[in-house]
Amino acid sequence: MTFKREHKAGLAALALALAAGAFAGAGPAFAQAAAEAAPAAAPVPNKGDTAWMLVSAILVLAMTIPGLALFYGGLVRTKNMLSVLTQVFSIVCVVTLIWVIYGYSLSFTGTGAFIGGFSKAFLAGITGDSTTDTFTKGVVIPEFVFICFQMTFACITPALIVGSFAERIKFSALLLFTVLWVTFVYFPMAHMVWFSEGFLFKMGALDFAGGTVVHINAGMAGLVGALMLGKRTGYGKEPMPPHSMTMTMIGASLLWVGWFGFNAGSNLEANGGAALAMLNTFVATAAAGMAWQFTEWGTKGHPSLLGTVSGAVAGLVAVTPAAGLIGPMGSIILGIIAGVICFYASTSVKNALGYDDSLDVFGIHCIGGIIGSLLTGILVAPALGGVGVAGYTMGGQLWTQFVAVVVALVWSGIGSAILYKVVDVVIGLRISVEGEREGLDLADHGERAYNF
């Protein structure tokens, strides 16, 4: 007897387990018994989980294009709008291809502590029946859907960096940097934190949906990029107001909407845990949005839209590592802290230090990611409403979280610096000053975003 399709296999496995149970005798213990009595049957995906993971992958794509592209695009000047859109869209395309060729394999195979191997390069050996384990023993999802889901993470992370050097990077340089960065910075980070052999995973670092891998990683690369590319021509002299807060608001909203795929999807199952991650993603975001708004209102006199949505994004970032691990009230606290600190990081601190991180990738993603990663170590405590982890001590967990944060900062900081340098030497990072004046849209892409 062979099963060609997994749903049949599913029925069979269930039947097998139950039948075995039936014969093992009735009683509350028999399900346990059944599980033990049927070791040979490979688990098959639950279609509810599969449906949810398909949706989650789609949501993360939507949060990138058009979400992130619009969030960033709205904040640049009209003449650079199209360049930001092209950059984000192209990053998604390029990383998608790299991911299936070798990225997935480097991230999720092997026995290395820092990087995987090439055994699944070109997705070798993976079929529609292959499965990936979830966090629950015996529960699996189709490997293809896991590949898609993780692919969208690999796509959005380098796209986040775009904000830091927007309005001045050369398109060809961006493409080359992206290829190098995902290969040498992102895949190793993903492997370290999320793969069972990775050293931060083994250390017990908690990162539910990507605080270190995605946000600290991208935020730090952004800061280095802003420093190495230098300021935009005219920065601090000419006004550079966002050309369309409408687009930025659409983008922020889609980020929120899509982030449920990111955070609740990271639960890998459609159950109460995903619902908790969703709820936390709601409330932390709301709390951070209002925290930034009120702080700005109090200190600058106006409750701004840009502040409100920036706060919301800071909240989304901060709750990312914590989403399925802490309680809703902890998420409110987390959100408020992230909203206030990221506000100062993106305004006073940035101005004081004087770097030109065009769209505050560092102030929001890196700082927000650090806040989230550290507070996850605290708020995961059952006493604080968290779900708890085995053998938890607050000090111990906090230390582990701290180590993970430092590793992410250092790995991304040094790795990115080297790669920027390489790209600069090979093809040059910055567009010419004339190109910058004319706008990257015409200079690099030969098109204009608007012809009203």
Binding site: L75, P239, E296, S346, K350
Partner: protein, 112 residues
Amino acid sequence: MKFVVAIIKPFKLEEVRDALTAIGVNGLTVTEVKGYGRQKGHTEIYRGAEYAVSFLPKLKIEVAVAADIADKVVDAIVGAARTGQIGDGKIFVSSIEKAVRIRTGETDADAL
């Protein structure tokens, strides 16, 4: 013929247009402009960056008229566009030597 150029507050357009048609002016051309003057602008804040915006939205009205009614035109605009508050705008009058209606080729007074 005279060329009357008026810079006014945007929400006064309909009233000025009505005042001009009331005195027989049947054509005019309007441009969106930004004005700098005594009227103070405002500050816009986008995250860490504060911009003092000193250029304010205004409308420029251009109307070519026969020389004899130029003063009446100026008065009509002043009457309709005045709010009494700073930034109400200016009117400038100059001469034109020739006017042509493209459709017919009529010139000067006939062209208006």
